[in-house]
């Protein structure tokens, strides 16, 4: 048994860390302030191979494992949560459904650009009237000759309106249940609404979508008719581990910055870290970071072994995201007033963290998944 990642994982971690600190770090505060989606930074992440890690080489990918993707998301997220979610969603929700459920024709049309980070894909599942209740999808797709005509609304869709967004995969109700369709950016009837005003993730791209008689050919149907809901539940399991890695990056950043600050900041004749009010709180965060790390990479390992990850993914996502929110609260408390102004990264992490407990299944949904696995009676 081993608790260590492979040597290549650690070498890769070091490269992504250097990249994030040097290429993203100097700009993150400005992107956050200006709500700017940095296309060049995304493409630089693409050049590094981050969007292709888990895909086979025949599609331009790196042929790597899921743990490597988690390493990348953790290290990018440690510097910028917005770019971390851009990566996580671009891989897990953009490229992955096409890779997992697409035909070779569909893969060759869309995957190479998504895998290289030249383009981004989005995933339109959530609707204004149904977030956690994804089975209640109201959007519809009706057949018309060789086409499908899609109508409905989607909400909170990451990467759906960037200058390099190439496709949005949307779920819609058909006669057979819920099905999925790939809608290319620019398709008539795909209306990308103005960006949301968000509490955090300012440099991440998020829009509502309206589908107004949006016509796509049957060649754009992804997977069997009626298989959309089942397929996407498996996609979400992977995404939960990825969000757990993102939360781990957030919690680590808060811990590292708080420890540095507690060593520097002088009050009452010495550094504030000598007070147990500070040091005990940081000790607890250190334990939480360690737990989040273990849960995240255990779930990633299970996936790489080809074993079921549903419960492990829910546990990792639930724990790590709540640990991240807690870490941002402690960090802003350690920083005091300085933690409340945007000049300190912990202020940004505080705003960025809350969404981690909501996206890819709320904490409550994770608890339902875990409780179900315990064999408890369901409603």
């Amino acid at each position: 048994m081993s608790w260590e990642l492979a040597e290549e994982h650690e070498a890769f971690r070091q490269v992504v860390r250097d990249f994030a600190e040097k290429e993203l770090g100097p700009h993150v505060a400005r992107w956050d302030e200006e709500h700017h989606f940095p296309v060049e930074a995304v493409q630089a992440m693409g050049d590094l191979g981050l969007f292709g890690i888990v895909f086979p080489e025949e599609w331009g990918g790196g042929g790597g494992d899921f743990a490597s993707l988690c390493v990348a998301i953790e290290e990018i997220g440690r510097v910028d949560q917005s770019m971390g979610i851009t990566l996580s969603a671009g891989v897990g929700l953009g490229a992955n459904p096409i890779y997992r459920f697409g035909t070779d024709d569909q893969r060759s049309r869309w995957l190479p650009d998504l895998v290289a980070g030249r383009a981004l894909g989005a995933f339109g599942l959530t609707e204004p009237d149904g977030g956690s209740d994804a089975g209640a999808t109201r959007s519809t797709a009706r057949p018309d000759g060789d086409d499908w005509v899609i109508n409905g609304s989607k909400a909170f869709i990451t990467n759906s309106g960037t200058p390099i967004t190439s496709v949005v995969t949307v779920t819609a109700r058909t006669d057979d249940g819920i099905s999925a369709f790939v809608v290319e950016a620019g398709t008539t009837g795909l209306i990308v609404e103005p960006p949301y005003r968000k509490m955090g993730w300012h440099a991440s791209d998020t829009h509502g979508l309206t589908l107004d008689d949006c016509r796509v050919p049957d060649a754009n149907r992804l997977g069997e008719l009626g298989s959309g809901f089942r397929n996407f539940l498996t996609i979400l399991d992977d995404g939960r581990v990825a969000i757990s890695a993102l939360a781990l990056g957030c919690a680590r950043a808060c811990l590292e910055q708080s420890v540095a600050y507690a060593n520097e900041r002088q009050a009452f004749g010495g550094p504030i870290g000598r007070f147990q009010g500070v040091s005990f709180a940081l000790a607890d965060v250190a334990v939480a970071v360690e737990n989040a790390r273990n849960l995240t990479y255990k779930a990633a390992w299970l996936k790489d072994q080809g074993r079921p990850i549903g419960t492990a993914a829910a546990m990792a996502k639930l724990y790590s995201t709540e640990a991240a929110v807690h870490a941002t609260r402690v960090a802003t408390q350690v920083f005091g007033g300085a933690g409340f102004i945007d000049e300190t990264p912990v202020s940004r992490f505080y705003r960025d963290a809350k969404i981690l407990e909501l996206g890819e299944g709320t904490s409550e949904i994770q608890r339902i998944v875990i409780a179900r696995a315990l064999g408890l009676p369901q409603d």
Partner: protein, 258 residues
């Protein structure tokens, strides 16, 4: 176009280093990393091979304990193969012995068109090894290159000087030392890192290379004393009573910078 790059693996400069009290040399235990000043040479070599449209980049390195972490980084950037010289006997080697070892190691990598090295390492700073390698191999040497181009069988170099740069040429094969910042080293890609672990690294000893004596036995130098650098003195504070600019001008004048 086959280019060899000499890469040094050094203790991470971000960590506090320490000296061995018995012989005053830098402790080089544990994980070593690619000397940043060599990453420019690796990048330049990759670009030259790319421009030439064929050939490959080989690496030579001398390091204790079969250490390969820094070599793997250079392989992940795109180098094709490496020779690692690792031998306990090499401890204490001076610059000339290092040059003899690296020259012999380079000769194991087949036909050589060009050997690239950093001007000096970031831990030892002797700054003499590249020229010594050229002497050992009987090749022309150009130092302090800020740009390098290949024109048929000719090496064209802009050589950094205090005043600007000289345009220097010499026939290939040759040895050139490159300055930091000469190109922007690429980040190793994920694929590059994964590919690096299966790239060939030949491990040899000084004896395998036929270089003797080495280490302290072959060194023409010894480190007799190490002294702490003097503490930096506090700067002069100029209070501005309306005439601070004059005091600053006077200060700069005293330094003869204006």
């Amino acid at each position: 176009m086959n280019v060899i790059v000499c890469v040094k693996q050094i203790p991470d400069p971000a960590q506090v280093g320490s000296l061995d009290p018995t012989d005053n040399t830098l402790k080089r235990e544990g994980k070593l990393i690619l000397d940043e000043s060599d990453s420019y040479g690796v990048e330049m070599a990759l670009q030259l091979v790319d421009t030439a449209g064929g050939g490959e980049v080989g690496l030579v390195s001398m390091a204790p304990n079969d250490e390969m972490s820094g070599l793997r980084t250079a392989l992940a950037m795109g180098a094709a193969k490496a020779v690692l010289v690792s031998d306990a006997e090499l401890a204490g080697s001076d610059a000339l012995t290092t040059a003899k070892v690296l020259a012999a190691a380079a000769s194991r990598l087949g036909d050589i068109d060009l050997i690239i090295a950093g001007t000096e390492s970031s831990d030892g700073y002797t700054g003499t090894v590249p020229e010594q390698i050229a002497e050992v191999l009987g090749l022309p040497s150009i130092t302090f290159a800020k740009s390098v181009a290949i024109d048929g069988g000719t090496l064209r170099v802009n050589r950094q000087t205090e005043a600007g740069y000289d345009e220097v040429t010499c026939p290939l094969p040759a040895v050139v030392s490159v300055t930091a910042g000469v190109v922007e080293p690429r980040y190793p890609s994920f694929k590059g890192i994964m590919a690096a672990k299966s790239k060939p690294v030949e491990k040899v000893t000084a004896t395998d290379l036929g270089v003797t004596p080495v280490g302290w036995a072959g060194a023409g130098q010894q480190i007799v004393e190490v002294a702490a650098a003097p503490e930096r003195e506090a700067g002069e504070i100029v209070e501005d009573d309306g005439d601070a600019h004059l005091k600053i001008v006077e200060f700069l004048d005293k330094l003869k910078v204006i």
